[in-house]
């Protein structure tokens, strides 16, 4: 196994983990506020198609990214409005959003499925950072950098005192209301952030990762991200770990195939999911001892 291959693997893992990270960050914020949005896959795909079509039309990456973020936010507002105003069941509304989002994306995008765009270019690091391993870890396209910046931002936000209001909305919305906070506004903003992140993840897939568009571009990542956030107990550090675990087992199983391991490719393909469950079981002991890691008490409950 030469160093070149290891670098390539590291890059591949980080790229594979990025959409999961972005989705996860959005889910963490909205879940902390007490909202369970199962519409991730729909928002993700709509973000992807929005950025792809915008890219075809304008050729500008920043505008395409904005389009994706906007698409995600619009879709999440379609979700949060009935939830907050009409107290609709969050699980059902989220599922409706997934179906709606996937349908809209397919309708808008399928006529253009055969088109190409230039992929987002990796930003080269200055020459003095010549270590290959460092390059592999740090040299990526702007959206990946953006995901790191947002991750750091979310971490600091969650540690700051301003996040306590958000967390209160998730645990005890009644109390938060009594204390004078506009719970509806906070939950709405948290959800919109989640939508923006999902849209951004979609933009990454369509503009950089593949970069072509097909209606199954999401490949279930929305659902996997939801599961990873549970695994991470809504903590950013753990989310990153989970995304990397998932991403690396995914790549690893392809590598094991390629070098001729005789294990069935199906079992290898199932390994990321098995590993995630196993990791969750191992980690859950800690969860139960630390009250901070428990699920927000009012997650998914309507605040009436």
């Amino acid at each position: 196994m030469d160093i070149y291959l290891i670098e390539a693997m590291i890059t591949a893992v980080i790229r594979s983990a990025t959409p999961l990270l972005l989705l996860g960050l959005g889910i963490i914020i909205s879940e902390r506020a007490g909202i369970l949005n199962l519409g991730q896959e729909g928002m993700l795909t709509c973000g992807a198609v929005a950025s792809f079509l915008t890219m075809l039309a304008t050729g500008s990456f920043p505008i395409s990214i904005l389009a994706a973020v906007a698409a995600g936010m619009i879709l999440s507002s379609v979700f949060i409005t009935p939830v907050l105003i009409l107290h609709t069941n969050q699980v059902a509304t989220g599922l409706a959003l997934t179906i709606l989002g996937l349908g809209i994306a397919a309708l808008a995008g399928n006529p253009y499925a055969g088109e190409t765009i230039t992929a987002y270019q990796v930003i080269s690091l200055p020459e003095f950072m010549s270590s290959p391993i460092l390059r592999a870890i740090l040299e990526h396209d702007p959206i990946v950098y953006l995901s790191w910046i947002i991750a750091i931002g979310v971490t600091f936000f969650l540690r700051s005192s301003s996040s306590s209001i958000l967390i209160a909305c998730g645990h005890a919305p009644r109390v938060a209301t009594i204390l004078g906070h506009n719970v509806i506004k906070i939950q709405a903003l948290a959800t919109l952030f989640g939508g923006a992140m999902a849209g951004l993840a979609g933009a990454y897939l369509a503009l950089s990762f593949t970069p072509i568009w097909s209606e199954s571009i999401g490949a279930g990542r929305g659902w996997i991200a939801l599961a990873l956030v549970v695994f991470a107990s809504r903590q950013v550090g753990r989310l990153l770990l989970g995304a990397i675990i998932f991403g690396s087992t995914d790549i690893l199983q392809l590598l094991l195939q390629a070098i001729g391991l005789s294990m069935s490719s199906h079992i290898l393909a199932a390994s990321p999911y098995l590993v995630t469950i196993a990791a969750l079981v191992l980690l859950s002991r800690q969860n139960n001892l630390n009250p901070k890691l428990r699920e927000p008490r009012s997650l998914g409950q309507p605040n009436i």
């Binding site: 009935p82 409706a96 349908g103 397919a106 309708l107 969750l280 969860n287």
Partner: protein, 355 residues
Amino acid sequence: MFIRRRRIAPSLAWQFLSPPLAITLALATGYLFLTLQDLPAQAILLDFLISPLSDFYSLVEIIGKATPLLICALGLSICYRAKIWNIGAEGQFIAGALIGGAVALHLDDWPSWLSLPTICMAGIAAGSSWAGISAWLKVSFKANEVLTTIMLNYISLHLLAWSLSGPLKDPEGFNFPESALFADSVILPSILAEGYLSIGALIALLLTVLLFILNRYSILLFRFQLLGEDESSARFSGLSPKRLTLQAMAISGGLAGLAGIMEIAGPVGQLTMNVNFGFGYAAIIVAFLGRLKPMGMLFASLLMSITYLGAENVQIGFGIPRATTSIFQGALLLYLLATDFFINFEIRIARAQPE
């Protein structure tokens, strides 16, 4: 200023008004959408909703497609009432189809009256066990069921692929990942003289009635409801949340597995990679559309079924792309969830209140 106020009791009128209103709203949206695209909206919508109901053959197909949806939804409703968010109906469906199918392939020399119940039992057991894995993880390690059931869905797909490429592969199938066609003795009989409607439809109906009776006249299922409403009360009355969780998941998984094996040993007649038609996820929608009540879910499953068939019709008749089905289904669900609001709430116009 409009304010929302919770009703004292759920409005009966709105329970009946809500679905037709939602359907109307969805149709109106569809009408607008199609007209904006210069398409013959009226003709299309008629073809979408009315033509599936217009002849006997289509009606049979609707019931046939609704059957697995309904059976899965019945199981899910028990879990959801207990606020156990089982997203794994898909995987449990596949598990039932897989194990039941494997048994069916080996029992083709048994008489039907013996082999069919056996394979159904196998399917139920498989689905039940598959759900049981998530339940055990939840009970022993507090592992969240949303995560485990989703992961198990994917794992079951790979398990299916592995079996079809290996032990269950049709020896005369030119190496394609499919099983041999099931022998006639292990195909569920049809309840119709003409055309095919498997006995699964009848079983679905019976299960619905059973669940309805149990909900209304027995206390057996109330414990699950209690667990969902107020866990401490449940504990206080001597129930064990752990045991209830295991039971709920086992029942739900068993029903999903039954749906799976009946679909495979019925209209499909073979085990292939496409055995899951997204029934597991669609069943979640059916459960919510039906408000977790058996009769409601019965109608919801038929409605969903009509939309699937209607979409196929308009594709043949007008070239409308498949994606529009999803949009219509999603919109319908959203509208229904919105109109259901009025069952439990009312809108009042508030005058300025004296301080």
